[in-house]
Amino acid sequence: MVSGQKTLLGRTMHGIRYDAIHDEILVPHQFAQAVLVFRGGADGEEPPIRVIQGSLSQMMAPERIEVDPVNNEILVPDGTANKILVYPREANGNVAPIRVLQSSGNSFSEVNVDPVRDLLVVGGSTRIKGKSTSALMIFNRTDEGDVQPQSMIAGPNSRGAGGSRIALNPDLGLAFGTVRGNGVHSDESFVGVWNYVEDTGDAPPRWTIGGPKGMLRQPRGVALDRRNKSIIVSDKYLNALLTYYFPEVF
C-alpha cells in the first residue's frame, strides 16, 4: 500500500495508470493540480520520483491520466479545462505542456493512446440534436489546437460509448468503457466494447460485459490483464473489484 503525507496522495484520488515499460505508476492530483509519478514497486510512505505542477502546467482539476511509453509522453485529459494536456514523460516540476488539444463543441474526460495506429481514443461528450451525448472520439495522436475528431462513435445505439473510463486493446482496435445506468445503483450498468477502427457513428458495442442485468452496479475503472485475457472493473457502489475472463476480446 502506498499512503501517507510524504506520498502527496490523498484519500480522494480519481485516476491511475501503470507504465509497464518504465515500471512507473502515474496518479493525477485534482486538488493540487499535479501529476505524481511513483516507482512501480513503491510501497509505504514513499514519495513520488517526479511531480509535474506549477503555473506553466495549465492544469485545473486533473482527474484522469494516460501514459504513452512508446512516444514518451504523459497525457492529462483535464475535464474542467476541457483540454488534453501533453507533457514529456520525464517532465518534472513546473513544466508547460508540449501540446494542447481542444475540440469545439466536444468535451473531454478520458484519453487513451493507440500506439499501433498513432491515434488518441478520447472519451467525453458531444452534442447531437442539441443534446449532450457521450462519445468516443478518435484523433491523430499528435493533433493539437482546436481540432475536430476524425471519427466518432456516439448516439443512442452506441449505448454510452466514451461515457466513463476507458481501456484499449490496440491489437484489435477495441475500446472498453464503463457505462453506468441511471442513479448511483443500476443493474443496467456494463462494460461496453466498441471497435473504434471499424465502427463509426451510432454504432452499438460489439459486446457488453458484466451487464446489463449482471453484477455491476456502478462501474468506474477498467483495466486489461492481457496475459490472462481478463478485464478488471472497479465498481463504486459495490466497493469491489471484479475480474471477467473474456478471451474473445484478446
Binding site: S3, N239, E248
Partner: protein, 472 residues
Amino acid sequence: MIQPLQSRRRVGFIGILATIGVVTAAVLFQELHTESHPMSLRKPTGFPQLIAYERFRGLEGEMCQWTAASGETTLVASLQQQQTPAGGFTGQADPSAGAIRPPLRVIRDPYSNFASIAVDAVRNEVVLTDENMFNILVYDRLTNTPPKATMSEPKRRIGGLDTKVEFQCGLYIDPVSGDIYAVNNDTMRTLVIFSRKARGNVPPDRELYTPHGTFGIAVDEEAQELFLTVQHDSAVVVYNKMAEREDSPIRVLQGDRTLLADPHGIALDTKNNLMFVTNFGYSQSHTPGPDGRPIHGGTLGAGRGRELWPLGWDDTVPGSGKFSPPSITVYDLKASGNTAPVRVISGPQFNWPTGLSFDPQRNELFVANDAGNSVLVFDASASGDVAPLRVIKGPKSLIKNPTGVFVDVKNDELWVSNFGSYSATVYKRTASGDTAPLRIIRSAPAGKSALMIGNPGALAFDSKREEILVPN
C-alpha cells in the same frame, strides 16, 4: 492512497517483456493489414513513426508453454483470435455473451468499515458510519465485542437506496432530539438527517443539498448554525441548522488567505468563538466569475441557483495548485470570505489529519491521524510547530488508520473509529501512549485488517507484478 492487490498468478517480468515486444515489433515495420481504412494512412512528419505492429505471439501465455483453453473458450472464439488482423477486430460478436457471464473473481469487503463516529451521551448510544456497505450503525454505548466473537450486532441500522447513505464521513448527533446528521462525501451531494425512529431502508427525514465533497460537520447549537468542510473547493460552508434542500449557505469561508487545503475534520469552541479545521495540505487558488459568483454553479454545478456558494473547479486558476504541510487552522467562529486563520497548528507529526474533536473542559483537540495510525492530542491554544500533549499509538492501542474521533465529556471517554481494522475503540479521555482500549466494538473477527477499498473510481493493472492498483 494506492493499494496493489495481487492476482493469483505471478509471472515476474513476462508483462514487461511483452511490452518490449510491442516496441520491437514496431521497429521491425511489420505489415499493417488495414489498407482499406483511412486511419492506416500516415503523413510524413520528418520524425520516426510507428508504422505497423504485429503481436509478438511468442510471448503469449506462459513463456514457451502451451496455454490450455479454458472451459469458457469456444472454438469459434479461439479461431477468431488467431485470425484477427492487426487492423481491428472483424469477427462476428455475440453482444450478449458477456452480459450474462459471471466474474471470474470478485474482491469485495464483506464487513462494515467504520469511518466516522459520534456518541449520543444522553441516550447512551454510539453511532458509526460504514463507508464500505453504506450504513449508519447504532450501538449501545457500552457494547464490548468479546474477543472470540466475530462481531457485535448494532441496535439499529439505517441503510439502503432510499436512505441516500453513501460514502459517509461525518456525523453529528443533535443533543436534544437525538437526530443523526450524516455527511455524504461523494456523488450523493446531500446531507441526510434521520430521526431516532429511523431504521432500515427509509428516506431521510430531512435533506440539505450540499457542495460536492463535504467531509466534516459541526454544529453551534446556541447560534443554530451548521458547519461543513468541503474538500474539493477547500472551503467551509455554514448553514442555518434547520436548512433543507436547496437552501443556500449563510457564510462561506474560502480563499488563499484562509490556508484551507483539502479540509477534513471540523470542531467548534463556542465558548471562545473558535473554529478548528484539519487540512491535508492540498489546494488551488480560485478567481470568481465577472459577477463574483462561481462559474457554472461551482464544482459539478451543485450550486446552480444558490445565492451563496463556494467557488469551484471551473473557477480555479490553472497551475495554481500546491502542496502545503498538513495542519489545523483556527478561525473566528463567524469567519467568512477570504479570512486568514488566527492561528495554525502544524508539525511533522501530522499524517493525513482527518477527524477532529474538541474537549471544552480540558481545552484539548483530538486528531484522528489516519496514515500515522495514531490519535494526537493538542492544547487547543497551541500555535505553530508544536508537539502534541499526548499521542495514542501502538499495537496495544489497536489504532489503525483512524478517520474518526469523538470526546465523550460526560463519560470521560475518547472514541476512535479505525478504518483499517473494522473497529471502534474506547479509551479513558486522558489516555496516552500504547494504551489498550477499555472496550472495542468490532464488525469483523479480531485481528482482521480491512481492505480499505473506499470509492474505487479508477484502477490500473501492473503487468510486471500481476497486481491491481486501486486509488481510493
